[in-house]
């Protein structure tokens, strides 16, 4: 009865009102706008760096099908089935299984049907379930952790039961001491069920302005228009995850996952635990969960065998992270995956550290390029016709490089094991003596080939093992202590890395002592010309920067034409192929042992890039190179802000000082620009003049109080203006601190202002530059200070703060934009009005007035379809035509006038025509 009354009243209002205003919205194909997208977050460099510490709510799921496709193809061959049909079917089921399992786990985590598995077990301030903590603490990342499997299996048995979520929560206590609130995202069993948190999954056809946040920072009007157009044509760029017709590429598939309606604070606390849980549960469940029998039918048994962690990658869609960034080798190595996404990977691959014969390690990139760019299409998304082509390129580069690394590892392990098993270091030594006996007996020998060979042997070992000059020796020693390789290659090696390294060490010692004892000047006399090409490729790359090609292989071939190899596979007898030779002679064996150790070292450096050492999928922060830079404190996102505030503080202090001690501090003319010194030192050395009216000690105390520990920081002297007369004085213009961006600056390595390291460019972990600014008296306003006094400094303080805060990169800034709201504005006005840019950049709606915005908010939230027209009648009602219903929806409005001619608006009840009841969500 009440509804009828409202409808009649509204109708009456329309008929009688003279104030009818209708606005037609741009019509769109409903299929094109069916994708509901989360907010896009645009971040500048500093914000992006900060964001890396927060958990993301949107990610890309990257699936490669090569392994499963090969397996199903072979299965079809074996069974005599049609290979094309079965392979295509297998790929579809595989993709479906991956997405379904992720969605199932997400649903269970969100509904309290699976407890969270905390990402960081070292935190004392959080509740960490005891058994879980024990299991994780005892799991080493280079060994399989069966305890973790058993633990998850117990939880999964409970979650698979057909009981209520609250019943499961109770049963989980039998497994571990979970906390009813801390261990779940949803804090209570009966939280608002209307809040939809189901995982949104979109298949990515093509990267578009819908990922504009990966291409740029502050979205301007034209960027917003591009987003609107893309959102209104989203069918071109996105598809449903189960739409296999759209997934044309059989090798790879990229999906965009989004978790909607999260409570911000709760997500900040639990987001990383969510992702950690998802990863751990997924790895286990994909192989073992009984649900897989149904999800992956008929291939469940086949899929059980897949190395799923090699086929699935989840990367954050933006600057936020899935894994808490850490400054350790594992994390850094995973971030190195970014390189494989580059369009020009093949051209630049040889310059990459990962492919270097003696890599510096994943930390090198941070130190050599601390201020890399971000959000400028770092991963060359724009360089490819579609998302599949980008992912295919990424996958090809990654798997190709991994295959190279694997080959390197297998070859190195095999060479070391074989050599160790068949020749003792003592016998190698004897064989070497015999091989070079003609040179040892007669240094005037004319056997140039042998002289060269001995030179290569000694030089290569010197490079790697010289006590004083080898930078490599210390690095290789680290290899002895690492168990990474043991974890990777336990099944194919008879010896542990330690044993293999010890074998190498003894050989190295013998070779080095042999080389040291040589009559070097006699053997390699003036008549000897070294044939540099005979060095091993790794040596030529490292020492001669690949300026010429190695002929080491050719030299071995020539040797084997007249000699039998020292060690070869038996098949060599039939094939005579060089690849069947383990090593040709004693010097070749020694050099190959060294090369194998170097290869093991290089594989160990990047092992986490290529192999999953833990039972979980990789989740590198592909789009945020500042994740590791922030974790390793190479880049401090707050630094510029702090330094600006420091400048403000310094200027304010100066203002205070100028009252107490006007023009008190002057530098003497012997200050040299670029000279590194400290203010304290300047005072101590008597290079700072001060007004004789003041006691020096008091001034120093006062300065120390104001400038704090920074006074002790050595700073570069910077002199503005030139003192023409040797008698001119310089005035101290304050201390300024900035992030260093050039190696030519005198960089400082400071952890805190009072904690200084030696200035060492290679090992710094943080980097700031500090200047003591002196202005020559003639060019400064110092002499006016008695007149302008504190106000000058205060003005300068404010001005510098203003200017500093405009820094586009180094002051953290972010903007949120909602593609649905942007497209709504575009449809309403036919463009993005200038006046809407600001609101849209804050993630807000922007329509004509608050009433339209409220109507849009309520109806698009609660009804399906798009708004096509809003007709206002007077101030208390509106008819809204939705694309999903022929009849308009009648809406009751309540307007309140507020100050400044603005009115607030509230949407009251609305009525949908009976025949359109189906458009109501959550009926």
């Amino acid at each position: 009865m009440q509804k009828i009354f409202i409808a009649v009243a509204l109708l009456f209002t329309f008929i009688t009102s003279t104030d009818v205003f209708a606005s037609d919205w741009m019509s769109v194909d409903s299929d094109s706008v069916k994708f509901d997208l989360n907010n896009m977050r645009f971040s500048n460099r500093a914000r992006c760096a900060l964001d890396s510490k927060d958990p993301t709510d949107t990610s890309f799921l990257l699936v490669t099908n090569t392994d499963i496709a090969k397996a199903v193809y072979r299965l079809a061959k074996l069974r005599g089935e049609d290979t094309d049909t079965l392979t295509k079917y297998g790929i579809e089921v595989f993709r479906y299984s991956v997405v379904q399992m992720i969605q199932l786990i997400h649903e269970k985590i969100m509904n309290r049907e699976l407890p969270l598995l905390p990402a960081d077990i070292s935190r004392d301030d959080l509740h960490i379930p005891g058994n879980y903590k024990n299991v994780m603490a005892n799991c080493r990342n280079d060994e399989y952790c069966s305890d973790l499997d058993n633990y998850i299996e117990k939880l999964w048995k409970i979650t698979s039961k057909n009981t209520s979520a609250s019943g499961k929560v109770v049963q989980f206590y039998t497994v571990d001491n979970f906390h009813s609130k801390d261990s779940y995202i949803l804090e209570k069993n009966f939280e608002n069920k209307k809040r939809h948190t189901e995982l949104k999954c979109h298949y990515l056809k093509k990267f578009s302005p819908l990922q504009a946040h990966l291409y740029g920072t502050k979205p301007d009007r034209s960027a917003l228009e591009s987003i609107a157009k893309a959102a209104l044509d989203s069918g071109k760029y996105l598809a449903s995850c189960d739409d296999f017709e759209a997934q044309t590429n059989l090798e790879v598939a990229a999906y965009q996952l989004e978790i909607p309606n999260l409570k911000e604070k709760r997500w900040e606390d639990k987001g990383f635990d969510y992702w950690n849980s998802l990863k751990l549960y997924f790895s286990w469940a994909f192989r073992n969960a009984p649900e897989m029998q149904q999800i992956a039918s008929p291939f469940a048994s086949v899929f059980k065998g897949i190395a799923i962690e090699d086929s699935v990658l989840i990367v954050p869609n933006g600057c936020k992270s899935i894994t808490v960034p850490k400054c350790n080798g594992d994390y850094l190595a995973q971030q190195a995956m970014r390189e494989f996404a580059k369009e020009d990977f093949r051209e630049t691959a040889l310059n990459l550290d990962v492919l270097s014969s003696v890599p510096e390690g994943p930390q090198d990139d941070l130190l050599s390029d601390p201020f890399t760019s971000v959000n400028v299409d770092e991963l060359d998304l724009g360089g490819f016709a579609n998302a599949e082509a980008w992912l295919a390129n990424f996958k090809e580069n990654f798997t190709g490089t991994r295959a190279l690394m694997k080959k390197k590892l297998i070859h190195a392990i095999s060479t070391l094991n074989i050599t160790k098993a068949n020749i003792s270091p003592e016998n190698i030594s004897k064989l070497l003596e015999k091989r070079f006996s003609s040179l040892l007996k007669d240094s005037k020998s004319t056997d140039t080939e042998l002289k060269n060979d001995l030179y290569y042997l000694c030089a290569e070992y010197n490079f790697a093992d010289h006590d004083e000059f080898s930078f490599l020796k210390g690095k290789l020693k680290i290899l002895r202590e690492t168990t990474l390789i043991d974890g990777l290659a336990a099944d194919i090696s008879e010896n542990k890395t330690k044993e293999l390294f010890d074998f190498y060490s003894v050989i190295a010692e013998k070779v080095m002592s042999g080389c040291a004892a040589l009559n070097q000047k006699g053997i390699w006399d003036e008549s000897f010309t070294l044939d540099k090409t005979g060095f091993s490729p790794w040596y030529i790359q490292k020492v001669y920067e690949n300026k010429f090609k190695s002929t080491a292989v050719e030299k071995n071939k020539t040797y084997l034409e007249t000699n039998k190899p020292l060690i070869a596979w038996k098949t060599y007898a039939q094939t005579n192929k060089l690849e069947e030779v383990v090593c040709a002679n004693s010097s070749d064996c020694s050099r190959k042992v060294l090369k194998s150790i170097i290869d093991l070292y290089s594989v160990a450096q990047y092992a986490s890039t290529f192999w999953n050492l833990e039972q979980e999928i990789k989740t590198p922060a592909l789009f945020n190179p500042y994740a590791e830079r922030t974790a390793c404190k190479v880049y401090d996102p707050w630094f510029k802000t702090k330094s600006i505030l420091f400048n403000l503080f310094a200027d304010m202090s100066q203002a205070a000082l100028s009252v107490a001690t006007p023009g008190v501090i002057y530098g003497r003319l012997d200050l040299k620009p670029g000279q590194v010194t400290s203010f304290n030192q300047l005072v101590k050395d008597g290079r700072i003049s001060y007004d004789t009216r003041y006691d020096k000690t008091k001034i120093t105390t006062s300065l120390a109080a104001d400038f704090g520990p920074l006074l002790g920081v050595p700073c570069m002297v910077s002199i503005a203006g030139r003192a023409n007369s040797p008698y001119d004085n310089y005035r101290f213009g304050g201390v300024s601190v900035g992030a260093c961006n050039s190696n030519e600056d005198n960089n400082l390595n400071v952890r805190t202002a009072s904690d200084m390291d030696e200035n060492n460019n290679r090992s710094h972990s943080e980097c700031i530059s500090c200047r003591l600014n002196f202005e020559s008296v003639a060019s400064s306003l110092t002499h006016l200070s008695s007149e302008v006094g504190p106000s000058f400094f205060l003005f300068r303080a404010v001005f510098r703060l203003y200017r500093g805060l405009k820094d586009p990169d180094n002051i953290p800034r972010s903007w949120e934009a909602n593609p649905n709201h942007i497209s709504e504005t575009y449809r309403r006005f036919g463009e993005i009005p200038k006046s809407c840019v600001s609101s849209l950049r804050k993630g807000k709606r922007c329509l004509v007035d608050s009433c339209e915005e409220k109507i849009a908010e309520t109806l698009t939230e609660e009804l399906s379809g798009n708004i096509e027209r809003i007709t206002f009648a007077g101030t208390s009602g509106a008819l809204v035509k939705m694309s999903s219903c022929d009849k308009p929806v009648t809406v009751k409005l309540y307007r309140n006038s507020t100050s400044h001619n603005k009115s607030s608006c509230r949407v009251g009840k609305y009525k949908v025509a009976t025949k359109c009841n189906a458009i109501k969500r959550n009926k």
Binding site: R79, R287, N427, L431, K434, D491
Partner: protein
Amino acid sequence: MRNILKLGLAFIFSFNITAATVESTWNDQYRKELSLYCAEDDILCQDVCNDTLVCKIPEETCHNCIGTSITLTYIFNYMGKAYLNTGVEALNGDVVELLKSGEFVTFSSRSIYNHVDNFNSMTLRSNFRKLCSDGTRYPVVMFNRSQENQSVSDVRFVFCDAGVYEMEFSNDLLINYDQSLEESLY
């Protein structure tokens, strides 16, 4: 004493499993199974399945066997080089025990686990065929499956037409020491 006993047992049982034909297959439900076809004088089928002629043993898919792991790559690349037939006939009891436990993984040149070469490629066929001197077309190599992580573990047997043999993880090498040093080397 133990070795003598082992040899004695080998003598007693080895002839029993000589004529069984073994195939590593995937059934209509796409589940892996090991099929044994026994001749009348074989007791292998009888021992494992209580059937005199045919025995189908389900084989669990080993974890991480579909992919390009270091171990799998090594197995297919180095079969016949680092995984060798010792020539020692396997004890029937050992074979039966492993088959009954289900903790095994089998490989052949037609394995779907092979991702390092084409299906049943010439090279792979030749590597596997080297393991049997009797011309077996598709020798089946059996490994242990780790109880801990369900992945492939140590190599155990090879099924040739003429019998089942012990396998070893070793290297089939030629070593050519210089004559003058030969005596001083081990």
